[in-house]
Symmetry: D2
Subunit: 345 residues, 4 copies
Amino acid sequence: MINVGVIGCGYWGPNIVRNFRQIDNCNLKWCSDLSESRIKHMKGLYPSIKFTKDYNDILNDKEIGAVVIATPVSTHFKIGMDALMKGKHILIEKPITHSSEDAKKLIDAAAKNKKILMVDHTMEYSPAVKKIKEYIEKGELGQVLTVDMIRVNLGVFQKDVNVIWDLIPHDISILVYLLGLMPEKVISVGESYIQKSIEDDAHLTLKFKNKITAHIHVSWLDPCKIRKTTIVGRKKMLVFDDLEPTEKIRVYDKGVTIEKNGIPIQNYYDTFGEYQLLHRSGDIFIPKIETTEPLNNMCRHFLDCIENGKTPVSDGQSGLRVVRVVEAAQESLRNNSREVEIRAD
Amino acid sequence: MINVGVIGCGYWGPNIVRNFRQIDNCNLKWCSDLSESRIKHMKGLYPSIKFTKDYNDILNDKEIGAVVIATPVSTHFKIGMDALMKGKHILIEKPITHSSEDAKKLIDAAAKNKKILMVDHTMEYSPAVKKIKEYIEKGELGQVLTVDMIRVNLGVFQKDVNVIWDLIPHDISILVYLLGLMPEKVISVGESYIQKSIEDDAHLTLKFKNKITAHIHVSWLDPCKIRKTTIVGRKKMLVFDDLEPTEKIRVYDKGVTIEKNGIPIQNYYDTFGEYQLLHRSGDIFIPKIETTEPLNNMCRHFLDCIENGKTPVSDGQSGLRVVRVVEAAQESLRNNSREVEIRAD
Amino acid sequence: MINVGVIGCGYWGPNIVRNFRQIDNCNLKWCSDLSESRIKHMKGLYPSIKFTKDYNDILNDKEIGAVVIATPVSTHFKIGMDALMKGKHILIEKPITHSSEDAKKLIDAAAKNKKILMVDHTMEYSPAVKKIKEYIEKGELGQVLTVDMIRVNLGVFQKDVNVIWDLIPHDISILVYLLGLMPEKVISVGESYIQKSIEDDAHLTLKFKNKITAHIHVSWLDPCKIRKTTIVGRKKMLVFDDLEPTEKIRVYDKGVTIEKNGIPIQNYYDTFGEYQLLHRSGDIFIPKIETTEPLNNMCRHFLDCIENGKTPVSDGQSGLRVVRVVEAAQESLRNNSREVEIRAD
Amino acid sequence: MINVGVIGCGYWGPNIVRNFRQIDNCNLKWCSDLSESRIKHMKGLYPSIKFTKDYNDILNDKEIGAVVIATPVSTHFKIGMDALMKGKHILIEKPITHSSEDAKKLIDAAAKNKKILMVDHTMEYSPAVKKIKEYIEKGELGQVLTVDMIRVNLGVFQKDVNVIWDLIPHDISILVYLLGLMPEKVISVGESYIQKSIEDDAHLTLKFKNKITAHIHVSWLDPCKIRKTTIVGRKKMLVFDDLEPTEKIRVYDKGVTIEKNGIPIQNYYDTFGEYQLLHRSGDIFIPKIETTEPLNNMCRHFLDCIENGKTPVSDGQSGLRVVRVVEAAQESLRNNSREVEIRAD
């Protein structure tokens, strides 16, 4: 039975708390938050948990084996280091840190202390995303050509990071997980409409090997909440709408067939000539998706990694990769949308 | 009673024919097409119309007062010039020409010959787009901050122009009409997945005065047909979905209010301090929109301009503006998405 | 080449005209209507067709082989008889007549004169309905238990017949076609809110053999247009939404499994004991449906029957069956919703 | 601070527990359930609550002021009586009892013991339903003509009551609340497809004063979950979709205008003559609805009634009215859908 502490009970923390409480083989012993009112609120919901304003109370409790860090991004590095130094396994909210330098230091510290360092890339634990990975790996969609992602809604406006830091970690972690590839270049455009110098709307183009590209639109300034990913494969196309309660994935048996004079074009590809593009538009398939909550799967995986010495799916390296993409996107943004190379691991 | 001829009965021509046939004060006398099978098909539908493979037969008919040019883009300039030289008023499919040079020559020729030169920017005649313009002009949305446009579906793949030339004229003409502004700069990214060197998927960012930006996604390679425009104003937000049969426009009484310690931020705007962003999320309003077909309105406007010597809403200059944006977008595309200035008229 | 005449160019007639015009192996020679303004309107669209106010002009034309009767229900019988007497094949709008007596006389007259008598039960020619019939016949859905049909919208209010006469012929013809069974009993409730004594909203329950029931809601008084049929089978469930442009049919792999202590209940069905009802909720499948217009298929089938001496799918008997159900529904309505037996053929 | 006990932690009980736990001015002290596994499950979630298999332990605790009865319908009467006899205020799940006789006895016992007797007609505490009541009372919709309600999905199959007992209490309580009228007559049809003699699909027609009718479709056997109410008023129409997360209510500015020769028909209503029915189809309005959970409002109202001696909105009489309608519906069902009069209070 692992004793767990949660540092930060603001926007996301309560979801972490709720999930660890529902898991049998752990004991959520401590929570901390800087705000009295948050502590009061949480205490009302969970009278049996201990609360403190000082996260060191948690780190100093020798019974605590693991801590979850759900605080603002700028504090991730320091709290993470403190926790590792006290011998705790750590689970950090995305993005892992505000710089790749810091991410690397955390990775090193975790390795040296032989502790689990995991990042909460929740989407990698989504049954729908796993299903999509299966489809891609089985070749169901054919070669993936392009991916289009939309993650927009009105607010929540962050004050310390822009919308890119806030939202694209989800999309990057999905992309890298699904394609098994890191993007190599990024072009990003964005604008700050509401807060000075904090972009609230951005569009990114990511370029991968084999001419695969992905486009991501993130915004805090859209009247409709949208969480949509469109994957165009050479054989089939797939749309993932994460807001659909039960019909998250639609597989379209649609594609383009290239012909010449009725004869499949591949035979004549080198010759010069007119060809016709036939659109094939067939059935649509909506697979049943397991309904477990991604966050719950993620929490269980963290405990499983601790108990069985496994490497997390979303480990420190995974967190670092996301930060590298965000940093390059920021660089492009600051340089008039110039194309920027993304450093590999 | 104006006698009208239609040159080109391929993809869009039949819609032109159908509409002119439904209008009382004109007589659709001639149609031409290079393809025998298209002529045979159209003859079956309209036995009282005269058909020819040679459009000069139409231009040489002295009874013909106006011609519509619904042929591939690359032929617009020559046919347009021929028609003007023969003293016909002309209505040209979008985009007006394949270069701004040619567009200017057509404009000059029309002026010199005192003929109407109109471009089929159909969307400017859409009752929904007119309604949106009313909202913007009345200040209903407040200052427009950003516009996001999606125009995607599977096919129709063009063979002589890429997806930018094919689809963004609609969006540019809507934007310029709604905002009353030309975009000043453009960044465009795109990729050709199916046909070599003909982009089938592209994302454009347009920058206007006052930090207004617009983003356009056009694609021939998406499983779902989408025609959606989101306009974010400082007071309200509006979504225009042109595929909705009756509920094309939704006005969201949503916005962001900037406060500081509960006191409206405007009083403290220059001071340094923490502020809070309140999201306001209110009622949604779906106005009743007139159901006349935009194309029908456009055809009637063309005849009205001829008969009453009016300047068309979508005149040659309007056509030229669209081509200037497309040319700049192409330049950006060919230069690794570098930001390109758009020439003013 | 059959010469065709269309009698009645009001609400539905123009659709008939448009379709026969698009078919090669026939010539739409004549149209009639009592209203000058309708004739003028139609003449504008089809200058090559002959128009008259007196349908006898059509019947007296010896070149005319077939007529379509698209007039108000109350006139179907007389015009139908006149046409048969003049040796014309006839296609009559649904419902065939306003009484089963009249329907039988028409059937007899057609048989005696060896002419085709067909009723425009358009839905039996819908590719979607055909697809559903295939699913049922292949046993894909398992035994059909119940069918729920909704056919509502605002207007078009008829003045000579109530909403039952107006709308349920569609649903009855679908049901009889799909199930291969006539309903045996009907209970109907309805109310007249807008016009005195002309019901504008009604609910019918139809009982078939084997405890199969169907429920139909028809209304002229609903803010939303709905055309939806839900078929509950023992193995799967199917929803047919005729307003969906491309996704008309959804097959739900859903059902109920009856178990007792983990052992399938059927073994223990007669014993006394607690059992558990497991809901099975699986994938959803949206088949690609051919996009030909049902009305066009219907028109072609009429011509095919004439030329090749075939019996129409929706022949006079089929028309009579629908009238029998409507008559019984009316009787139930007039008798405080008492259950009424429906006469078999 | 009222101490509360919850009897029954099956399907609905956990929602009751969750809500009372979130309310400050009460203490959820006890829960009971007959099933060990349910108790174990609940204990895991709420370690600070006391659990028992015998509800008498709760009734015998003198600190307990109020109990919630969330057990199967057949046990409501006995447990309710026991609780009232022990001097507890009671909140009972709908329907209040399985017979109107029992409901009246409970009402009398509560009155005699001066205790609050409230029924969990959750929907009467829904902000959306309150909004609709406002619209009706302000005359926004004009005179209500007819109401159509659909409450269907796959399962949850009850074993002691049929789908009418299970589901229509929601709809009846909404109708009586909105219209301020009791239905006077009911016709009901239903069928048992899955369990012998337990109807799983039913359609009811309720007749009120002034020719107002309501139709309710309830089913455990539909592939789609639907919770929809359509209210047709003489001026406007309203659709309430309780599954919509934010857009629960749509007000359609639609209606029928009766005219004669262009002059409003009301002047000529008694004369004989042709009139025209004009459909008016205008804007749609989606009001912002408060997002508090109806169940939470209901729980707070119960505590408020106890503390301040108020009469609950959904008191015993309200519960009795619902049971009277259900009893009449059952009688109609058992008598071949004969129209049955509903006893007034």
